[in-house]
Symmetry: C2
Subunit: 419 residues, 2 copies
């Protein structure tokens, strides 16, 4: 419930203040007042309280005309968040602080995406990271974000995995298991949506308020950003771009959905069939032979992806489309260019133009997004509102950040942390 009574009003304005500070990087109390429209007095009271709570930190005085101002910025150790990413080929976990900096991380590669080993890895990593935190810091964990594919058991044949083994996922509730293992609140996101959030928040590709972020991982998916807010979908299944129907048969594809023409496993299958080391190739070290295989894959993938992008534009008038994923940067760029070229061959009458851009984060976007999203939910004035911190910080110039000693001020407002 937003607003309602005095307490809700205060909570709302606190978020607006944090939001303003995050956007600007650092603001004096007077600037906070101007940025939020609050009176100077209220801004002062709220800032003071947030400093006491350890969420904001005062920097060195800045002298100008008149009384020097004391800038405040977000305190790194004011809050922490844990992100866990479950994929079909790996499990990762990452602990970040309020500024988005990585505190610690873990990663495990998988042979097959079977429920048992995967969940063991995920819960194990999460527990390890949490146990390494000081108690004071652990008390400031504001949530756990879990990013995973929409359906772990779909497209088993595409994976080359036994269908029966994957069916075990239907009986598993990864969110609940992670919650049980960590004792923290877990929010679940589609993996591509999480990656999308990371690109919005810390990447450079998406400045638009309305964007489609395509992520090529083992499969292919997308995140949808509308009015600066991540749209997760009524059933967390927005951006299921892999299910987009193809126009017809694509050579080498087993089915009639985008995933059969443009996915990481499809590319890997080709590489493996040609006797190429997939891991090396995906690290950009495959050489000419890998490039040739990639070009083959690209010839089918790019037009199919282009059709998907154009189709998506007919549903939502995205201002920007980013393409990212686990591909090595050189290949990612070629995919972007080829897709762009293919998009231009479509009749786009009636569609608003969109900018096609290369993602800037890559495969790690998913864990990072999983970690960032609980922070957003806790501190942004609107749930799902994505504010780019890096860009905002850069614009504001470097500031004195985070003195942040042991806080632990048992202020009455700290227990509003849960709400």
């Amino acid at each position: 419930m937003r607003g309602g009574d005095a307490g809700g009003l205060r909570a709302f304005n606190e978020r607006r203040v944090i939001d303003a500070v995050l956007r600007a990087g650092a603001l004096s109390k007077a600037e906070v007042a101007r940025a939020t429209g609050l009176s100077g007095q209220s801004a002062s009271v709220i800032v003071e309280r947030l400093v006491e709570q350890g969420l904001l930190a005062k920097g060195d005085k800045v002298r100008g005309r008149g009384q020097p101002s004391t800038p405040v910025s977000v305190a790194g150790s004011g809050a922490f968040s844990l992100g866990v990413k479950i994929g079909r080929r790996s499990v990762e976990a990452r602990l970040i602080d309020l500024t988005g900096e990585t505190v610690a991380e873990r990663a495990t590669r998988l042979e097959a995406p079977l429920p048992g080993p995967v969940m063991e890895a995920a819960t194990g990593q999460a527990r390890e990271l949490l146990e390494a935190m000081s108690p004071a810091h652990r008390a400031r964990l504001c949530g756990v974000g879990l990013a995973l594919p929409g359906e772990m058991d779909a497209w088993a044949d595409e994976l080359g995995a036994p269908k029966a083994a994957l069916a075990g996922w239907r009986a598993v509730d990864p969110g609940a298991m992670l919650a049980a293992a960590t004792g923290a609140e877990v929010s679940v996101f589609n993996d591509a949506a999480a990656a999308c959030a990371a690109e919005m928040l810390t990447g450079e590709a998406l400045e638009a308020g309305c964007a489609l972020y395509v992520h090529v991982g083992a499969f292919i998916g997308a995140g949808v950003v509308l009015d600066g807010r991540l749209y997760r979908g009524a059933r967390l299944n927005a951006g299921a771009l892999g299910s987009m129907p193809l126009a017809g048969r694509v050579p080498g594809a087993k089915g009639r959905q985008l995933i059969h023409a443009a996915s990481g496993v499809g590319l890997a299958r080709r590489l493996r069939a040609a006797g190429i080391d997939v891991t090396r190739a995906m690290a950009g070290l495959g050489g000419a032979e890998a490039d040739a295989q990639f070009a083959d894959w690209l010839a089918g993938a790019a037009p199919a992806l282009a059709r998907a992008v154009v189709s998506a534009m007919a549903v939502i008038d995205f201002e920007a489309v980013a393409i990212d994923g686990v591909l090595p940067p050189a290949w990612r760029l070629r995919l972007l260019d080829a897709t762009h070229e293919a998009v231009l061959r479509f009749d786009r009458t009636g569609l608003s133009p969109a900018e096609l851009r290369e993602g800037t984060i890559g495969g790690e976007a998913r864990v990072l997004g999983a970690a960032l999203l609980p922070l957003q939910a806790r501190f942004s004035p609107e749930p799902d509102l994505l504010i780019n911190r890096r860009r905002a910080r850069a614009a504001a110039g470097p500031t004195a950040l985070d003195p942040a000693p042991g806080f632990e001020a048992p202020s009455p407002h700290l227990d509003r942390w849960r709400s």
Copy 2:
């Protein structure tokens, strides 16, 4: 801005109260308190103020156990809204009151969608309707909604209209002209989006919080509802379904976009070519020959529309898809069924299921939506939040103020297309 200071808090809670009353049809003060979470005292004060403002009206006391309660419901004459719809074949205007009842309306058929005559008709109709209002009522006009196609000058060849004449639209700002003519605030919507809002608010087809509403008019477009909110798009161009790429050539279609395979003008062209009176046919009086032409059109239109629907589902996991438009009900139903059948032939792995339903309003949905949207913007706790009044009213049972125009039995098409 939402919240902020005491005044904002009051405004927000007032909207919540109106929202609660609209949803329930009629509520006592105590029920308002329970529905909103406000204290009884606040609910009482707010309701009393809204009654004083003429937005709510007290009904007859209801006796039960304890002190009789006085139900309040929204007062029809508490606010008015004017909707104007500009189309390629007609211009319509409609004045409605706060309950959504039509007060007065106008309509003009057009020969060709040329800027001059169209805008003259639109501003003329609007002025007429406003001048017929009493001064007291006119003071309660809360806005003018304008629904029009995204690009009046696109697809000129499909219309059989001279391209040069249509290009005149680029120099025209219909919203500004209407604002100048009426002196009221004008909000502009895509025509399909407006129709979508009407279906959400007063229709029966869309109960889901997340839906796609396809409207077949002269061309074809769609409205997008996300989390109960109408999504207009960053450039008001969400749901540009007509631009969805086709899989290949469709017999009889001139181009490679959905609009070339499934549009009202395409159907009309066929009918005319067969020597059939289009107006009669569109009124459902075309006879067997018209039916045969329709079947031909349908054979190309339905699969193309099905592909568009499946593609849309891969972008947003719509829970429901409605198909509506200017077609006579029998044809609309056939379009729905044929589309449904075609959808089932697609591989839908990885997509969440959606319910495919028939729209319940038809061609007038666009004006109605244009009229309803300013009311929503003014009285709903969140902008763009769509609350179905009719359904809510029905659920609450008949109330003192409910004019209860015997609306039709529900049970529209209830097909689930899931494997």
